[in-house]
Symmetry: C2
Subunit: 313 residues, 2 copies
């Protein structure tokens, strides 16, 4: 398959592994890039020197291109940019901020810049900012989501209609059938997070992976809407948030209970009760831990099979 996304990143398959905090270091990113997709290192949970180490190890583990995800709200973002420039990283995925501020600077450094959005308004801002491709992320995605709660089924065709930029769909996609549905809605690539969290190479804690594989529909919930909406796997901590929100707790109270280090505690250290467990709705569909490369192969095989089936209709 060849399209604008495979050409933009020089990859075999238009599958991008999401750059996620605490889950996607050099092992996962290099495995996905080696398998023909695009691996991303998630810098949002890394101090600059940790990121530097991951980039170096990733280069040793693959001769393919890989990228780095940088939340623009991240306090260390400028130190991160300096590392990306020094290490000659060619692909950056930015999220959680205004693309107008940094895009031209990053592009002057020779980078391909992709931005994650969840609304038509943000997509148009990307278009004006010179972004190279858009990730449209639906309400069903794990971690931080948009405030409008637009699902990928509605968002993808809206973005396709609003801007002509290459479009990557994210949220709810974990299989070849999901990828095919995203393409039917106008996407040219998919960004997959949850499925890769339960890969062998992900740095998520084994207990977290186990809980994801056990998850059923209704086991995640979009919370903290008064602060920044985030989709979490339900546990003791999320239950506390739910009760606070039901009684009308303020953003400040919610920030206080969140505190510091909750995500690390849950996803990386394996505290399944008090940790923050960011994961997508599609966790309910998953029941097998696999190597990341095998996941890429399985998705592409299922994509082709499902396409053949549709053709016969």
């Amino acid at each position: 398959m060849e399209n604008r996304i495979t050409r933009l990143f020089n990859i075999r398959y238009p599958i991008i592994q999401a750059g996620m905090i605490w889950c996607s270091g050099w092992r996962l990113a290099s495995a996905v890039s080696n398998a023909g997709g695009l691996g991303l290192i998630g810098s949002g949970s890394m101090y600059p020197e940790v990121l530097e180490e991951h980039i170096r190890k990733c280069k040793e583990a693959t001769d393919q291109l890989f990228g780095v995800n940088v939340p623009l709200s991240y306090p260390h973002r400028e130190a991160i940019f300096d590392i990306l420039i020094k290490e000659k990283i060619k692909i950056i995925f930015t999220s959680a901020g205004n693309p107008a501020i940094w895009t031209s600077y990053l592009k002057e450094q020779g980078m391909t810049v992709v931005h994650v959005i969840a609304s038509v308004k943000s997509a148009k801002k990307c278009d004006e900012s010179g972004i190279d491709a858009i990730v449209a992320e639906g309400f069903e995605a794990g971690g931080h989501d948009g405030k409008d709660e637009t699902t990928i089924f509605t968002l993808a065709p809206l973005i396709r209609k609003a801007v002509s930029l290459p479009l990557i769909a994210a949220g709810g996609i974990a299989t070849g059938r999901g990828m095919l549905a995203a393409f039917a809605l106008g996407a040219e690539g998919v960004q997959i997070g949850t499925r890769f969290v339960v890969s062998e190479e992900s740095s998520a804690h084994p207990e977290f992976k186990k809980r994801i594989l056990e998850a059923k529909d209704g086991d995640t919930s979009l919370m903290m809407k008064k602060v920044v909406p985030v989709r979490l796997l339900k546990n003791k901590f999320s239950d506390e948030i739910r009760k606070m929100e039901a009684r009308g707790a303020s953003a400040e109270e919610l920030m206080n209970i969140l505190g510091k280090g909750r995500a690390m505690r849950g996803m990386f250290e394996g505290d399944m009760e008090e940790g923050e467990l960011e994961i997508g709705q599609v966790s309910a569909l998953l029941d097998e831990l696999m190597p990341a490369g095998a996941i890429v192969e399985e998705i592409m095989r299922e994509f082709s099979e499902a396409k053949q089936e549709l053709t016969k209709l």
Copy 2:
């Protein structure tokens, strides 16, 4: 196209027009059935004698089969069942209640019984109850939605995996591309609401139709979660609900502000400020009022075109 859904209802296209309160009377249902889909009269906003009149007029307007949607929570449901039996209605879509209680009775009357669900647990209950087909309705749908907030992108493959019943996808589907995406996810038919609300034959108030065509992404919101979750177009009334919910208002307070007749006032009488306006997220994608028959034709044409495009990948 022929599949389990077209055979079950003896229809040309596997497109079902949702039976919606205040919008889908005999004019809309007969237009859709005449166009080769399945039209449904929405009985949830009708007194039994009003429904009887709609059924008679629908029979005069089409010689094709049509069905009736009955919310099982509706106080008049038994009077409604009696009318359906008397009028020899062969297709009933039930929603908002337990299918185990009524399905065998309705099937003994010779009816094909379809039930609307939003979770794997409910789908399994349908399977045990002898239901003939399932409508899996995602979070993006207008009106009453499930508590789990599972989107159609996640829900459809989960239901496909959990039960072998014929599967109709609903929520977020308004176009041929949407229909194709739903089929990629395992659906064999689609139920479409919002798109038919803005048809010429819908009984929605012209002001309501106008507002739907103007709607952008983010203009609907799932509210009243402490009572029964319902997706509404944002207006003065919904803004009041939003503020009450933010301060932690109780289910009782929310029921009080809702009061009686809000939905009629908004959707049927055209009060755009104080009325309750039930509509789906996909309203953001719509910009043209068309006859229902032309909508069916356009969806099928786009479905075929999009299928051809996918084949070339």
